[in-house]
């Protein structure tokens, strides 16, 4: 261990601000990109599910009244 004690370690030879700022910002940036990717993943799965549900509703509606499905299909 290059430093005698923890306090010296955090002081970082007087350059604490720069070293910890660099590592801190880098950590935050990497964390942000990972969380963002994970969040979009969940959001996309949710939209996929609601999209499929919408699809199911349309198919069900079409089966229910096939007579004017032609016009309904053109309209949708």
């Amino acid at each position: 261990m290059q430093f005698d004690n923890l306090a010296d370690f955090f002081a970082m030879g007087g350059y604490a601000l720069y070293v910890w700022l660099s590592f801190g910002v880098s950590l935050l940036a990497l964390l942000w990109i990972v969380l963002d990717s994970a969040a979009t993943h969940k959001k996309l799965l949710k939209t996929a599910q609601s999209e499929q549900a919408r699809q199911a509703r349309i198919d069900a509606a079409r089966k229910a009244k096939p007579i004017n499905s032609e016009s309904e299909q053109a309209g949708s």
Binding site: G13, S22, L30, I33
Partner: protein
């Protein structure tokens, strides 16, 4: 051309590949990053000239190197996409762009923070920092162009062309900025050079580099999965995936 890759089956297989690869990239990557940083911060020797501020090297140098290589990887994905019309190649390209931009930002920020104690200013038009800044602009250009198109297939090809134009220009920009720097800098600011690396300083640097590279690969794979779902959300396998992943609550 390899038209036999039927476009439907391919994305699902690519998705499964991403799912299996992700843990192998993410956890070793985080582990190496942590080891490299702690080793560099706490155990590596001081630099005789710069003292402890030199320890920023353990995040600045890996991110600077990987910002450039991620852009090159992005351009290779674009080339594969354009030449062999592989949709998943374009998805990989656009998956890399954001993490590449973040790593470039990290390289820029840590470079500036490292320069402050040495040159007394937060931003100095040093050759390397300037090239890094322009590289960030190239990343943002590709991302902005991709976002401007509704048809994501068109967006992929357009962003791919700009990625290729960019990758041709990266060395040109690098050397012209280097030349420009020597032209205008003169002797005032001592040319900031990487201090000679003693072996015990080098090991943590290499581990941090490996860690960040694996981490970038992991995030790329994660965003690749997102791109695939975003493009194939009406396919049945995505439906099953969504049901299974979201605890199978009924259609909302």
């Amino acid at each position: 051309m390899w038209k036999w890759l039927h476009p439907y089956a391919k994305p699902e297989r690519a998705y499964q590949l991403c799912v299996t690869l992700q843990p192998y990239f993410l956890w070793p990557g985080i582990l190496c990053l942590v080891i490299g940083s702690i080793w560099g911060l706490a155990f590596a020797p001081q630099d005789y000239q710069q003292g402890d501020s030199f320890r920023i090297i353990y995040i600045h140098v890996p991110s600077a190197i990987l910002s450039m290589s991620t852009y090159t990887a992005m351009a290779v994905a674009a080339l594969v996409g354009i030449v062999w019309q592989w949709r998943t190649a374009f998805m990989a390209m656009i998956a890399m762009a954001p993490i590449g931009a973040v790593v470039t930002f990290i390289a820029l920020f840590t470079g500036a923070a490292w320069g402050k104690p040495m040159w007394g200013a937060w931003w100095v038009w040093d050759a390397r920092l300037t090239s890094e800044l322009i590289l960030l602009f190239l990343y943002l250009g590709v991302i902005a162009l991709y976002g401007a198109f509704e048809d994501k297939q068109q967006a992929g090809k357009a962003a791919g062309v700009m990625a290729l134009v960019g990758v041709v220009n990266v060395p040109i920009i690098h050397y012209s900025v280097e030349w420009w720097n020597t032209l205008h800098q003169g002797a005032t600011i001592s040319k900031f050079d990487k201090p000679s690396i003693a072996p015990e300083m080098l090991w943590p640097l290499l581990i941090a580099l490996l860690g960040l590279a694996l981490f970038i690969a992991a995030v790329t794979v994660m965003r690749m999965k997102n791109e695939i779902i975003r493009r194939e959300y009406h396919r049945p396998w995505v439906k099953a995936l969504a049901a299974q992943a979201l605890g199978d609550n009924h259609a909302v």
